[in-house]
Amino acid sequence: MVGDRSNLKPLALHVPEPRFRPGDEVDFSAVDIPAAGAAPRPDTHAAPADFTDLSYSMVRVLDDAGQAVGPWNPRLSPDRLRRMLRHMALVRAFDERMFRAQRQGKTSFYMKSLGEEAVAVAAAYALQYDDMCFPSYRQQGLLIARDWSLVDMMNQIYSNRADRLQGKQLPIMYSVREAGFFSISGNLTTQYPQAVGWAMASASKGDTRIAATWCGEGSTAEGDFHSALTFATVYRAPVIFNVVNNQWAISSFSGFAGAEATTFAARAIGYGIAGLRVDGNDALAVYAATAWAAERARTNAGPTLIEHFTYRAEGHSTSDDPSAYRSAGEPNAWPLGDPIRRLKDHLIAIGEWDEERQAAMDREVAEEVKAAQKEAEKNGILGHGLHQPLDSLFDGVFEEMPWHLAEQRQMMIDEEQASGRPWARKG
């Protein structure tokens, strides 16, 4: 035995604590926000070890005056910027309306992406339409930016008779193969290694398509996250890992995923993967970083991990009440502002937009969503009768139904008859 420990201070367990709790005055001045335009833009074939500082700083394009500055400025046409703005506004209007539909009892569950619209929408703009997305449950912006039908999304949310998933899956857990959108799982981070597998397959077949995947910062704790990064670096898979650091994982702040000690982008460094930390409320920065990572992946230079620094401005889901664990002042005090407002200010600053057109656009997207909702509700809402044929319950467990499932299906039909009250179906 070496040494006498009798005069050592006893060990102490460190348990992270967020800076603000309900009732606290919020002051985010300690959050380090590097100036827009300051981060250098490495060549897309640079070695990850040569730009590890980009895992700790922040890629930002839009400055406080609404100008796009620095080497990451993607120089998008005003037309493209206006379309991007409209898609982000559409996501917000969609969220607003579907959240309300849940509150009105029209479905069981909903999750908003308020404040995070840029993360999904701008990424969709930087990817090719046939690149494959493996999202979490908060990237509805990908589908909307790919102009997927709002009515179709709502049908899924209502589990109604036009639901492409036959009412089998929880609301918002979309699956749209046609739009390069992988079936969302409720189990966190399972999509991460799956995206790597898709990317490896694409590479092994000499394809040109790449994969992209998203998870929250809380989800980076799951083992699947680390398995994915290991495979990706070993096989130099053409994949983009997005960590949406919206500061909160239900009631747990990012410190419970390790943010007190380092950034999420820095997770890349240990794996030898390219890492970027990006202002997630800056649509141009998200676009530029994604385009950079996509070029890297598409030219066999390997995977990139992008941390999108943003803020979850709403509750986790319709089942959550954030006022129980965080200060109500946080969303408004968030130093990176509102992504829609920032893109709008930019367009106005370059003389390509004005308040009147913004107001007209807001009315337009609200109308579009309202009309879609009306259309979707013609196909029924959750709870008002059974919209799917009863025996569809057994479809899709296997490609071909084994005897025991056929038998159980018959049991169910017998049960319906015995009830003397055939399961109410939507008339």
Binding site: N187, S251, F256, V397, D414
Partner: protein
Amino acid sequence: MEVAEIIETEAGAEAGDTQRMNMIQAINSALDIMMARDDAIVVMGEDVGYFGGVFRATAGLQKKFGKTRVFDTPITECGIIGVAVGMGAYGLRPVPEIQFADYIYPALDQLVSEAARLRYRSDGEFIAPLTVRSPFGGGIFGGQTHSQSPEGIFTHVSGLKTVIPSTPYDAKGLLIAAIEDNDPVIFFEPKRIYNGPFNGHWDRPAENWSKHPAGEVPSGYYRIPLGKANVVREGEAVTILAYGTMVHVCLNVVAEAGVDAEVIDLRTLVPLDIETIEQSVRKTGRCMIVHEATRTSGYGAELAALVQERCFYHLEAPIERVTGFDTPYPHSLEWAYFPGPVRIGMALKKILKD
């Protein structure tokens, strides 16, 4: 339904001192009492600390016992259970929460290969005195990832105990016994009945525990030993074996059908109270098993085998199994999936006719 007698009340505890509780409050009370009695007990899991858990089962505990004994964890179930095993090796008694049973799978290796076998492989040098709490079961429109009943996966593992309460009274007494147990216990809480018993009629108004006899819960310490079933209704015509939510559904079906059934709430699946089951089946000559979990290789299969092995010559009809179907838990067709009053009633009719 009568409240089972209080078993093993601690000397000095006032038997008359009771409170109205729902199941969440009863679980909270068990944790509170045990943490005060034994400072080796720690509560950990996703959102269990400051917030007190997504179902609020750990509300107030962090404030009372401090952050080093009640703490939020990173979102990694494998990590949560692995860390709990290590804490157990040090001498703590962790009570980790897995937010939903549907999310326990990343922890399977730590549970199956590690916690369950640690005592055996180290010949008792190390033990894993964990109680893994997790809400399970459907009936809340939770879709495939907030509805599953995976108890059969755990009853299949040697070295794990599996406990499922059906009332606030049982939840508290069983949780205390589970925490005191020196082996790993999977403690599945039927979330559908957190707030009140459920008679199986999803289209009727929800009930709460305020009028149920087992919603009256002793304020202090008491334990219900693991491995002891509860005969919740005595009868002669048929034995019904159930646990969790299905106990209430069965009691209601029996009442509505006017059948003199004996309903046994197993309370602990492993170790099983086989004696109570045997006695009952010998008396009634018929046995029906009801669980919400999928059918194939479900716990009902084990029960059917045991009853057949031990009571074969007393059986007057084939054993009936009423279960969920062998499909993932659907969202919109939830009530077609759920083994409700009609399915149970049909099986009851059949077993009584044979």
